[in-house]
Symmetry: C2
Subunit: 296 residues, 2 copies
DNA sequence: GATGATTACGGACGCCGTAAGCATA
DNA sequence: TATGCTTACGGCGTCCGTAATCATC
């Protein structure tokens, strides 16, 4: 098993195409084919079904392992780079709904204490944010997700990155006004399991489905790949589906009502992710965020 | 970064010698030298100090990541192998103090329900046991360790292997009779932090040191690498040091007294480790152990 | 001076790309 | 028929081993 082969498998599984994987990795499609074939031969079983290109159960499992292995290696590289050089810049990535008020407060404090520091902020979905911390593209990521109360969200292997709890907010379901559940004081997610959901990766709706979707592999009725909250809410208002959001961070929106989730017991949680290096721990931004965080 | 290079680094760091690493991996010492040099060049910093051969902080960190990466790849390989073939044999490895009475009970039940099944049992220390589950050498490992009450012991990345809690027992310090603490109803480990400890990897004393040893990197006065409990207790009786053990599983021993650990709150915990495959979950042994386990 | 890591160099193997083959929409 | 994965084959690069060099105990 070689890393090159794992990268190939992962790209093929994620992109659903040998050709696309080849382009992404900078090989010819022939090379990708050979790499995947080598893996399959070595492991003695098919990993990807062709035409259409879909992973077998074994391939799916291996791709999962491969993703974690490659992520850890990214982290390792970044950590070693951090060990030697010192940063004169702070780069942050944040998920759209990840309690930004905390971030801007911390940044203002940071700026006033060090006016010369170059600061970069960008938004991305949680998966990309994690990848960017791992690869060293940014120094910290403010990611959000859904979890049990005062329980960490698990985006990557626990312990791989340093995670600081920042905030928790009640979870609500955004529904079109007039929906049967409109007006309820609280809602059980099981009651909505067959309802049309809007899956919006940028808004941390992905992991909930996998954790609480009673029906695995059900393809969502609508996927919103943007990161614009008003657009998402407009989709909800139009009756195209329900969306899972934190109670805070967005004002009212015409035609949309928010009903708190009361079962299962879930919260919207925000965490700050950095490398597990001393340098990261001592980042002024991290310090500031920590002192401001509402959670211990 | 290539897996081959990571394997080389890990072997060099663990064995403290390029030559020994070369023998272990089946290369010449020259090849190992080139592989480590390649890593160092690629990462732009020294990973291993020569003469004597010791890892730099960067090397230590990378070796840690390398170990986890390689372990995960072992697990991946084993899982895929399990997915295709069915086992006609049950192989178990257990740590010496890992609640063996549960194991033998489960094995007896297993034997009576399936007299033809070939069963293999072996003992090893926790680190080796984990490696053997990962590499597929055994189907399950009964490992013990020290943790907080009803808190899992973390030997590997959480989620990498399937872990079933089996039993917990109070933790005691084994001391020579007549020791100043002899007769106390309970002891605070901090009071013993500077005492001479006997480190016995086979008896799960390793991780406690790293977790609660106030003085990191202090070399223990005595290391017992065997797995024979009477020998260990004889060492204690001779006044060569104290040892951390579970309260159960060993009767009295002449010249040794056991004082319960009351602070920090720690227990001796036993868990059953298997691959995270359906096959492993359905192993009769696992089922039997589960139903017998005193923990939920 | 001996043990053990590094450097130099040649040969073999592996891997990728080009191009032809082939299956499926 | 066209798109896209597979197979065949040749060249290039890489990596390992042998052997000489060098440093440290």
């Amino acid at each position: 098993v070689e890393l090159r082969d794992l990268r190939a498998l992962l790209a093929v599984v994620n992109l659903g195409s040998f050709t696309a994987a080849a382009i992404e990795l900078g090989y010819t499609q022939s090379a990708i084919s050979q790499q995947v074939a080598a893996l399959e031969q070595e492991l003695g079983q098919q990993l990807v079904r062709r035409r259409p290109v879909r992973p077998t159960p074994a391939g799916e499992r291996l791709a999962e392992h491969a993703a974690r292995v490659l992520l850890r290696l990214d982290v390792a590289r970044s950590e070693l780079r951090h060990l030697s050089e010192e940063a004169a810049e702070v780069r942050v990535v944040a998920c759209p709904l990840a309690s930004p008020e905390l971030l801007v407060g911390a940044l203002r404090e940071l700026r006033s204490s060090n006016p010369l520091l170059r600061i970069t902020v960008r938004t991305a979905d949680a998966a990309r944010a994690v990848a960017e911390v791992a690869s060293g593209l940014v120094d910290a990521a403010l990611v959000d997700g859904v979890s049990g109360p005062s329980e960490p969200i698990h985006i990557v292997d626990p312990g791989l990155l340093l995670s600081t709890p920042i905030a928790e907010a009640p979870l609500v379901v955004a529904l079109p006004r007039g929906h049967p559940l409109d007006g309820r004081g609280g809602v059980d997610l099981d009651a909505l399991v067959d309802a049309p959901w809007i899956v919006a990766p940028a808004f941390a709706g992905t992991d909930v489905q996998s954790r609480f979707g009673a029906t695995p592999r059900r393809s969502p009725r609508l996927v919103y790949e943007g990161s614009d909250l008003p657009t998402l809410l407009a989709l909800v208002a139009a009756g195209l589906g329900a969306a899972l959001l934190p109670a805070l961070g967005w004002g009212g929106f015409d035609g949309v009502v928010a009903v708190p989730v009361i079962r299962p017991q879930l919260v919207h949680r925000t965490e700050l992710l950095t490398l597990r290096t001393e340098q990261a721990r001592r980042l002024p931004l991290v310090q500031a965020m920590r002192s401001r965080a509402t959670l211990r």
